[in-house]
């Protein structure tokens, strides 16, 4: 496999988790895409230094952490980050929760099934939030409730989807869904 193909295969397999990591590290949602672009570029430039025996996800998060801080310094501290200690805790949690590319694909498939099993009102909320990109305040206004209630509903929805994914993976591949994995994902 040539270098670009190899990089792309690994990057695409871990892109979602990497975006999630950047999202946790950067407190301003509007800056997360900018940081992610820089991280992707930095990963490609330094891909020669990647040791295939190591986890690509862990290596990428390490690079991302440096880029996040670089960006933070260059942009005159406009990016508000979590503290280094909190960021380190997040990195450890990501490392523990990391799955390989095959599992990611299975989880994606399971997510598709789980989304279809959502009750209509929950499905509508998810659709508005992610398809329409409706803000929390807008959702609260539409549903005649508070933003705290919307946060709560989204939190529960994610938990329900996470449980559903784990159930499906356990049904389809009992040996691959370890209890430890379930415990880490459960929220």
């Amino acid at each position: 496999m040539d270098r670009p193909s190899h990089f792309l295969r690994l990057f695409l397999a871990h892109e979602s988790d990497l975006r999630a990591y950047v999202a946790t590290a950067v407190r301003v949602p509007g800056s997360r895409d900018d940081v992610m672009q820089e991280v992707a570029l930095a990963l490609w430039k330094s891909f020669d230094r990647y040791d295939p025996r190591q986890s690509f996800g862990a290596w990428a998060r390490g690079v991302a952490t440096h880029k996040v801080f670089d960006h933070h310094r260059r942009e005159s501290r406009r990016l508000v980050l979590l503290s280094p200690e909190a960021l380190e805790a997040v990195r450890r949690a990501f490392d523990e929760a990391e799955t390989d590319g095959g599992t990611v694909r299975q989880e994606e498939e399971a997510l598709g099934h789980c989304l279809k099993s959502l009750p209509p009102r929950s499905a509508e909320l998810v659709g508005l939030r992610y398809s329409e990109r409706a803000g929390i305040a807008v959702l609260a206004d539409r549903r005649g409730t508070t933003t705290a209630a919307i946060y709560q509903q989204l939190s529960r929805l994610r938990a329900v989807l996470g449980d559903c994914i784990r159930r499906r993976l356990a049904e389809n591949h009992p040996s691959e869904a370890s209890p430890a994995t379930s415990l880490r994902i459960r929220s």
Partner: protein, 538 residues
């Protein structure tokens, strides 16, 4: 704010410094908090990647089986394409259109009324209205000839009071129902309508019957709108071809028939609201009408919602979020647009009440505008004939209204003994009336009631006598008339009584000025109130 809410807010909107400090402290004290943050962030990213904008194949929660949806779309289009290409409505040839065009302004003497006059008075339309058409032209197809444009205009102003099927039926059956209704209200025996026929050629496959099922929940709809409605449900457009042929031309199949989500603005009265207690009604027994869901509404129109399709309505913004295939969403939008664009069918009813000093029976007659003017002039020059009042009202087709020229009369119940108790009565004229546009005529269902003091001066509505001393005499009759637009029906109100003697003239016109939609797919409440008629004094 607990940890879960902090996590959600961090991902969605960002945290304040204080909230960030709280979250960081929680993560420092309990590693599980960091795990929850990570789990939430991962799920958030996966959902955004799967459902986010720009990912049309995943934009709908249900649209996850792209391959299956594609295959389904091809199968779904094969038969409608074949059938729609073969579906031809023969409306009569150009001769029929020409005959209709020539018939404008020419007289018909056919009698349409078969029942003899009793308490009600059926009227015989005698002439095709020569009144200029006020209907807004529907969109035209460029290649249509002048004759076909005229035909389209005619179909657009030919109104059916209702076009309903209790259950969704195959397209050809629904089409036959539409043609049958058109003939039923063809009081003027218009040759175009008489020769209207549907011809359904055999399809290239199957038994030739289209799979499309059509529901018809329409009221006060033009023939053209009825055809357009069916065409949209059949994913087609109505196209007129010479000589007088209507075809349903199928839309181009969409390239991608996977489920997509679209937000469509709709009329606020599209879904009838649940009725709550009327704060001014003084009653606690408010009727409650179950509200239709958007899916129920669309299904009542004949649009199927499969397992993964959905529709939701946001009352605050009057926005409908529809998740369906692109072609179905287009059909829904066309049906919604058709309902919003259809002109409000408004009927102006002009009446004249004449009083005769002597009995002068007038057998029900129908007059053209010219004939009516001559008749009025003759009455004006006749001694002992007075124009009592001439109220006029405008109301929508199918809406009952009241023309009223009255004065309140307060009568003591015990004139001599106790004047504290009184009852309220009225004198004057009341004409409750309901016009229904049928084809090219207006069907009027109404009554006229005249209550006047006995000892008043003839020809005066409100006399100068002391009302409290007057005795009121009531003259009333019901009537039913079928009057071509622009014409006038005249008849005696009380030809068999001993007097006073009255005659009534009723003229009907279209008074459309655009406005809210006419279509009421689910019998949504009408904007004008029950007494929506416009009262005009004598």
């Amino acid at each position: 704010m607990n940890d879960s809410l902090l996590v959600e807010k961090h991902l969605a909107d960002g945290l304040t410094d204080e909230e960030t400090a709280t979250l960081e402290a929680a993560m420092g004290g309990d590693p599980a908090v960091a795990s929850r943050l990570v789990a939430a962030a991962r799920m958030d990213q996966r959902l955004a990647a799967r459902l986010g904008p720009g990912r049309s194949e995943l934009a709908c929660l249900a649209g996850l089986k792209r391959g299956r949806a594609k295959a389904h779309s091809i199968a779904r289009w094969r038969r409608p394409l074949a059938v729609a290409a073969a579906l031809v409505l023969v409306l009569g040839l150009a001769a029929a259109v020409g005959a209709w065009m020539r018939s404008i302004g020419s007289a018909h003497s056919d009698s349409m009324a078969s029942d003899p006059p009793r308490a009600t008075r059926p009227f015989v339309p005698a002439r095709v209205s020569a009144r200029p058409d006020r209907v807004v032209d529907p969109p035209r197809v460029e290649s249509e000839t002048t004759a076909m444009v005229s035909l389209r205009r005619f179909l657009s102003r030919y109104y059916l009071p209702d076009l309903k099927l209790e259950t969704a039926r195959p397209l050809d059956e629904a089409l036959e129902h539409l043609l049958q209704r058109a003939r039923e209200v063809n009081h003027l025996k218009n040759p175009v309508i008489e020769r209207l026929s549907a011809e359904l050629a055999a399809a290239e496959e199957g038994d030739g019957r289209p799979e499309t099922v059509v529901a018809l929940p329409l009221k006060h709809v033009s023939l053209m709108d009825g055809l357009t409605w069916m065409a949209a449900l059949n994913r087609s457009e109505v196209f007129l071809k010479e000589p007088g042929v209507i075809t349903f031309r199928p839309w181009e199949p969409a390239e991608n028939e996977t489920l997509v989500t679209e937000v469509v603005r709709v009329r606020r009265d599209l879904l009838p609201s649940e009725v709550g207690p009327d704060p001014f009604g003084g009653t606690t027994e408010a009727p409650t009408v179950p509200r239709l869901t958007p899916i129920e509404l669309f299904q009542s129109w004949g649009i199927a919602f499969g397992e993964h399709a959905s529709a939701s309505y946001d009352e605050a913004t009057a926005a409908m979020t529809i998740c369906h295939t692109a072609s179905t969403i287009r059909a829904i939008k066309e049906l919604l647009a058709m309902g919003s664009a259809r002109p409000l069918v408004m009927i102006m009813i002009s009446t004249k009440i004449l009083e005769f000093a002597q009995a002068r029976p007038i057998k029900g007659d129908l007059l053209t505008d010219q004939q009516f003017q001559l008749w009025l002039r003759e009455m004006n020059q006749t001694k002992g004939v007075d124009l009592l009042t001439a109220p006029q009202l405008t109301t929508r087709s199918g809406q009952r209204a009241m023309a009223e020229v009255t004065k309140e009369v307060v009568e003591p119940m015990e004139r001599e003994a106790d004047r504290s108790e009184t009852e309220v009565d009225w004198q004057g004229l009341r004409i409750p009336i309901e016009p229904i546009l049928e084809g090219e005529v207006v069907k009027l269902l109404g009554a006229v009631e005249i209550r006047l003091p006995v000892n008043r001066q003839a020809g005066k509505l409100i006399s100068a006598e002391k009302i409290s001393a007057a005795e009121l005499v009531t003259t009333a009759t019901d009537f039913e008339a079928i009057i071509p637009l622009g014409q006038t029906a005249v008849f005696s109100v009380n030809e068999s009584s001993d007097g006073p003697y009255f005659a009534m003239a009723v003229t009907v016109h279209r008074a459309d000025g655009g406005g809210p939609p006419v279509g009421e797919p689910n019998d949504a409440p009408s904007p004008p109130p029950e007494s929506g008629g416009q009262r005009v004094g004598p």
